[in-house]
């Protein structure tokens, strides 16, 4: 089973959830990132996502390993879509199962924040009056030194 995937076709949420079902889990959280129509009052027509695919898969897997080390007993699956996405289309599904519920929320949130830091995927927003590659969505300069921090370097 592939727990970490870049997909060209629509993501089936249930199939991502199914990957993390375990008898030891009492809680599964999912995060489903969808394409929103309005951002800062500007109307998006559609998005195009692009990935450096082999590295993106590795970095998603790295996030999974980080989570499974930090929250023992957890299991993680992530699928991110690339290509053209319309409003309400699903860009990413993160599923995390854990024995107890607090961990399932925290670990899942950790996953989406890490995706926005270290996974080489970019989106281009298309509006009525133009288009642009979106930079750093964390709205901070993630790498002011021009290089990733120690913790972001792969194994």
């Amino acid at each position: 089973m592939k727990f970490f995937e870049i997909a060209k076709d629509p993501i089936n949420t249930q199939s991502v959830i199914d990957k993390v079902i375990q008898r030891e889990a009492g809680a599964i959280t999912t995060f489903i990132g969808t394409v929103r129509e309005l951002t800062h009052g500007k109307k998006t027509l559609y998005l195009v996502y692009e990935a450096y695919e082999p590295m993106a898969v590795k970095k998603l897997a790295q996030i999974g390993t980080e989570i499974e080390e930090r929250w023992p007993g957890s299991k993680v699956a992530i699928t991110h879509r690339v290509g053209k996405l319309d409003i309400t289309d699903i860009a990413v599904v993160i599923a995390v199962s854990t024995p107890h519920r607090a961990d399932a929320y925290e670990a899942n949130r950790y996953a989406i924040e890490r995706i926005k830091e270290i996974v080489p995927i970019w989106k281009k927003e298309h509006w009525e009056d133009g288009q642009e590659w979106i930079g750093n969505q964390l709205e901070t300069v993630a790498y002011p030194s021009g290089k990733p921090e120690e913790g972001d370097l792969g194994e």
């Binding site: 082999p54 991110h80 989106k123 021009g146």
Partner: protein, 77 residues
């Protein structure tokens, strides 16, 4: 030789997806400077670099055959 990959706005600016470049023995910082001059690329100070699909620091030395990718600030999720 080395394969150098461009993504997102860098690819649009460079006008190519990848180039072959003799980068062996150079540091990442050296390569960044050469590439940004040759392709007229701006804002390279927020661009990360990956060697063989792992993030690399500016002082890392590139080996023959390494694949180099320039990674603009990511926006997945």
């Amino acid at each position: 030789m080395n394969k150098v990959l461009f993504f997102a706005h860098l690819r649009d600016s460079a006008g190519v997806e990848s180039v072959e470049f003799a980068a062996s023995g150079k540091t990442v910082a050296d390569l960044k400077e050469l590439i940004s001059e040759q392709f007229g690329l701006q804002n390279f100070d927020t661009v990360m670099t990956a060697i063989n699909e792992e993030f690399a620091t500016d002082d890392e030395v590139i080996q023959e055959g390494d694949t180099i990718a320039f990674i603009p600030p990511v926006s997945g999720g």
